[in-house]
């Protein structure tokens, strides 16, 4: 029983993460009709905002380690700690949440630049062209990050207070249901971001215009509305969402330059299974894939179908697409 509950929880956790990572992708496709292969790179850039913030916060005074003679090794103490003691330590401790705030303007800027500088020229081009150009961009971004930060993963810690795990089973009278705080926060975070984006599109005038533009761009344009500018902003928002997903993911997965590529396929599968352009679909698909992946990884399941955990994501994608031509919630 505990084992099953734990897997359910794990599935929800994964699902939330998948949905959030895929959200920006489906938003861009739904509004702009652009297949953005650089989406993974945006996710990765978000994570590296966190890395940079941490690097800046931990700029350290270096005391040479005299026992090492052949090269210069330093014992590093961050200046923040030296100047402000415990307060400084606490600021460093909270570098990931701080990065969340800093990532918003940075990612927005990156998103706007990307749309204005490149994507806008590709609205009318074929999907294949969009894929190639954004893929090329993803490689370029990735290589720039690699040149600056190296290829190895760089650890990011969650704040001390939520670094461990919570015995949440005891709240409901179960034993042994322990789950990391940070992962639960990720779930809440992704639900609220998804909710926020959804509300933005549905309950604001801006959102309504964007949705109208999704349906019939020309008519909206004829009404004298600058739909192009709104689309640019939507792309910026998608970049912010991808970036925030990246920042939040760093304590779970120490970021490296290649993490965007690793998540690219996954986010595409989530989006397509949910239905291209459908926000609700991405969420539904995220949770479906998360929970099924979690269960298929259980030893008991793997004993019956060997290797199922390796292919489950793709298997679901195939089954769903064969029975629902436009994904779970997609429309024609």
């Amino acid at each position: 029983m505990e084992a099953v509950l734990l897997q359910v929880l794990n599935g929800l956790d994964k699902g939330g993460a998948y949905a959030l990572i895929a959200l920006g992708l489906t938003l861009v496709f739904g509004t702009l009709g652009v297949v953005n292969f650089a989406h993974g790179a945006l996710f990765m850039l978000g994570a590296f905002v966190a890395v940079s913030v941490q690097k800046i916060l931990t700029i350290s005074s270096k005391v040479r380690d005299e026992s090492v003679t052949f090269f210069e090794a330093y014992k590093e103490t961050p200046y923040l700690e030296i100047w402000w003691g415990d307060t400084g330590r606490a600021i460093i401790d909270y570098s990931v949440p701080i990065s969340l705030l800093i990532a918003i303007p940075i990612m927005l800027l990156i998103g706007l630049l990307m749309e204005r500088g490149l994507i806008k020229y590709f609205y009318k081009r074929e999907h294949a062209d969009q894929i190639l150009v954004t893929f090329g961009l993803a490689i370029v971004i990735q290589e720039i990050i690699k040149a600056n930060f190296g290829a190895n993963p760089i650890p990011q810690a969650a704040p001390e207070i939520v670094a461990g795990s919570a015995d949440i089973g005891s709240l409901f009278g179960f034993e042994g249901i322990v789950y990391p705080w940070w992962r639960m926060m990720y779930l809440l975070f992704s639900l609220s971001i998804i909710g926020g984006v959804f509300a933005f599109l549905h309950f604001t005038t801006f959102g309504m215009v964007v949705r109208a533009g999704m349906h019939d761009r020309e008519t909206v344009g004829l009404l004298g509305i600058n739909i192009q500018r709104r689309f640019t902003i939507v792309f910026g928002i998608a970049a912010v969402v991808a970036g925030l997903a990246g920042v939040m993911y760093t304590p779970i997965l120490p970021p490296d330059y290649h993490m965007g590529m690793d998540f690219l396929v996954l986010s595409f599968v989530v989006v397509v299974v949910g239905g291209m352009g459908s926000l609700g679909g991405a969420v539904a698909a995220g949770f479906l894939l998360g929970i099924l992946q979690s269960f298929s990884s259980m030893t008991e399941v793997k004993a019956v179908i060997p290797g199922i955990d390796q292919i489950i994501i793709y298997l679901i994608a195939v089954v769903i697409l064969l029975f629902r031509p436009r994904g779970l919630l997609g429309k024609d």
Partner: protein
């Protein structure tokens, strides 16, 4: 241009002659096919070319970069530049600091991308185009095994870089391949006694294993050792390579009744699974009256950095660490540190040593002919290279030497001070009969 034409005629004539030897000889303008070579890429002129095949892109790019640094340093030292490094401490040594056999050492580099296909392609380029007489490098067992068999076919020597699977010098060993790095069997034997003294005999282990040959190899070796100690094995779960998020495999560990988690992961997988396992509070748990423990049988300092504080206190093994105090290690750290400003990784160390060993064997044999070099390397005993008295066993081309059991350092004195050497396990304890891992060396190929 006329030269080129002549050349094609020759290579056309060589059309029927099929060996790579003929083809690659035809590719080098200064050499004529009729001038039959004794062996592939026999160095003509005043230089000899070595091929350094390391991952320059992909997950192991940093490790590859460190390997390349070591190779360049080795070339310098062989050519008599720099401070000589391990050439000052290696015993016995036939090298003179004037290149190899009087020929200046040059090199070609290739990017393995940590993919067998790409690695073989770049190795082939270095053999066929650049005229490399020896290929070395690699940061994964799959790649090492693939390139090793290529070198056997092509008739050049392969000096393996970082490869830890038993198979490299076990079931996939080749006459032309040599490995200085240790393997999973040795990791197991070295780790066993330490695990026993630290954690006792009443333990239940849970394995998470990367689902490919190296992972299985290590899982088998560690299981063997721990079960001999009296430990039980609760489960051994295979995880997909590059899974990223391992949480779905970690949750079942929580209430499984196991009190030790063995992570048979390397590189990014290791960093991720360890980070996440610690996040799940495994190390704070108390099961069956024991503190829950995590073991990472193969450690790499370079990769361990990615796990941050999570590696503190965790046991594992490593081939070599820069903090060793013997003369050889010191000499290597000194010249590497002077050159690049930071300490070498274990990958760098093994690659450097391999290059020197190859060069030395050429000097001993008096030729670059692979058959002669192989004879010189087989059973070669040496010391002063950082791992104590070492022997290249003739039966399987595996180096036997002391193995380090290390622990993540909880009070690092600097950013490089991540691993603490707990024990230098003597060579005798990690030796095993060559027949144990099977395989067939085959014969030397200098056609």
């Amino acid at each position: 241009m006329s030269n080129d034409k002549k050349f094609t005629e020759l290579s056309r004539r060589g059309f029927i002659k099929s060996s790579i030897a003929a083809a690659s000889a035809a590719a080098v303008p200064t050499v004529f096919v009729s001038n039959a070579n004794a062996y592939v890429n026999a160095p003509k002129g005043k230089t000899v070319t070595l091929g350094f095949n390391v991952p320059q892109t992909g997950a192991y790019a940093d490790e590859g970069a460190d390997e390349l640094r070591a190779y360049k340093l080795a070339v310098k030292h062989l050519n008599g530049e720099g401070d000589g490094g391990l050439m000052n401490t290696m015993k016995p040594m036939a090298l003179k600091g004037n290149g190899i056999l009087g020929k200046k050492v040059t090199y070609a580099t290739g990017d393995t991308q940590t993919k067998s296909d790409a690695a073989r392609a770049s190795a082939k380029r270095m053999i066929e185009k650049d005229g490399a007489v020896m290929i070395t490098g690699g940061s994964s067992s799959g790649v090492a095994i693939a390139v090793q068999s290529l070198c056997q076919e092509a008739g050049v020597i392969f000096m393996a870089g970082l490869t830890h699977s038993n198979d490299t010098t076990g079931k996939d060993k080749r006459r032309h391949g040599f490995r200085h790095f240790f393997n999973t069997d040795m990791s197991g034997s070295a780790l066993g006694p330490v695990l026993e003294s630290e954690f006792g005999k009443e333990r239940t282990a849970y394995h998470l294993t990367a689902d490919y040959t190296w992972g299985w190899s290590q899982e088998g070796s560690i299981k063997d050792t721990t079960e001999k100690l009296g430990w039980k094995t609760k489960a051994a779960v295979r995880t997909p390579l590059g899974a990223g998020d391992f949480s779905q495999y970690i949750t079942p560990v929580l209430n499984s009744g196991a009190d030790v988690l063995v992570l048979n992961h390397y590189g990014k997988d290791m960093v991720n699974s360890l980070t996440q396992a610690v996040q799940f509070g495994l190390r704070d748990k108390n099961v069956n009256g024991n503190d829950f423990q995590i073991v990472v049988p193969l450690f790499s300092r370079l990769m361990a950095q990615g796990a941050g504080k999570n590696i503190q206190g965790i046991y594992g093994t490593t081939n070599w660490n820069w903090s060793l105090k013997d003369a050889g290690s010191q000499a290597f750290v000194k010249s590497f540190g002077a050159e690049y400003g930071f300490p070498p990784s274990q990958a760098a160390h093994t690659c450097y040593v391999q290059t020197l060993l190859y060069a030395n064997a050429c000097e001993l044999a008096g030729t670059f002919d692979p058959c002669g070099v192989i004879t010189a390397l087989e059973g070669f005993k040496f010391d002063g290279m950082g791992n104590g008295a070492t022997e290249y066993r003739a039966e399987d081309h595996q180096c036997f030497k002391d193995v380090l059991v290390v622990q993540g350092n909880d009070k690092p004195s600097s950013q490089f001070d991540l691993l603490k050497v707990v024990k230098e396990v003597p060579r005798k304890q990690v030796e095993y009969p060559a027949s144990k891992l099977g395989g067939e060396l085959g014969s030397c190929n200098n056609a």
